[in-house]
Symmetry: C2
Subunit: 190 residues, 2 copies
């Protein structure tokens, strides 16, 4: 199970036996059922997740309906916006399907970081990378029409189209399910 995290981290640094042990001690594995809520609006968050298997969706509630912000799948880190703060969350985290995660929390994290400073550096580097990716996908999003966004999604994350309900895909693209149906038909007839 934990192999996947080590595999992920080994892309960035050399994993010593000691480090392996430290990571094993500072995280634990947890399993959630489809539909389970990991984080509610209004509550604080002191857990972050690394997805071993499954899919997590983050969304806001506005005018009674859900606005999907992001889908996280295998080998991705889910760090709530308010992680390690006392700020109540504005968004929800929900499991799209049965999901196995490795859970981290600030206390265990800072302990491990003190023992392994290279992990702190690593964490910063990965953080910067995520930030750069986010900025890029924001730019992509802003520059595209709903149809382009859908085509882009099909290209980059074809698995999502299969495993996530269409109305959640639609909300992710900021359109109504009816519009997504029409867009798909439009593309078919080309």
């Amino acid at each position: 199970m934990k192999d996947k995290i080590l595999q992920y981290l080994s892309k960035y640094t050399v994993i010593t036996k000691e480090l392996e042990k430290a990571i094993a001690e500072s995280t634990f594995i947890q399993c959630f059922k489809k539909g389970e809520i990991l984080l509610k609006k209004g509550s604080t968050s002191n857990e972050c997740y690394f997805i071993i298997k499954g899919c997590i969706r983050s969304y806001y509630l506005k005018d009674g309906d859900e606005k999907t912000i992001e889908f996280y799948t295998e080998d991705e880190a889910v760090i709530p916006l308010n992680y390690d703060t006392i700020i109540p969350s504005g968004h929800y985290l929900e499991c799209v399907e049965e999901t196995i995660v490795s859970v981290g929390n600030p206390e265990l994290e800072s302990e491990t970081f003190q023992k392994f400073p290279e992990l702190a550096t690593l964490s910063r580097i990965i953080g910067e990378k995520i930030m750069a990716q986010q900025q890029e996908s924001f730019a992509d999003y802003k520059m595209s029409t709903p149809e382009e966004r859908y085509l882009n999604l099909v290209k980059r994350r074809p698995d999502l189209i299969q495993r996530v309900p269409q109305h959640q895909i639609a909300s992710y693209l900021s359109i109504k399910p009816e519009s997504l149906s029409r867009i798909k038909r439009r593309i078919m007839n080309k």
Copy 2:
């Protein structure tokens, strides 16, 4: 001139005489004219900026027209997406008006960080803050209609409406100038 940076940093940490000196040594002041390009698409970037006075716009070129991603004004940090990497930039940075900035670069930065580890920590904290803000504004953007985005902009950054040409505001809201005109009229008639 440099007072503004110290003032900004003093919100986060105590500024000693030594630190003040180090900051003075690791940055320099530069002035750009209206319309000057600080970063071109395709080139690498080894400079970041802190705006003392003025306004900088980042934009992409798509299908021949400019897609504005962000406006940066007084007391804001402008860190190109590809800063301190060998990746060629996908976006441009342009001065909306005459702009005075404090310039930083990776070499000077890492020197100062070694001498003042608290500055490295600070830089990380500010980085995380910027990241959280970005995520929030992305969520806000995704959840809003063009009209809501315009009203939001008027509320949060009324100065931009005054100092930036309307067609750039429109591109920032991802609409055409004609649509922005209509939105303004619609709001007037309410």
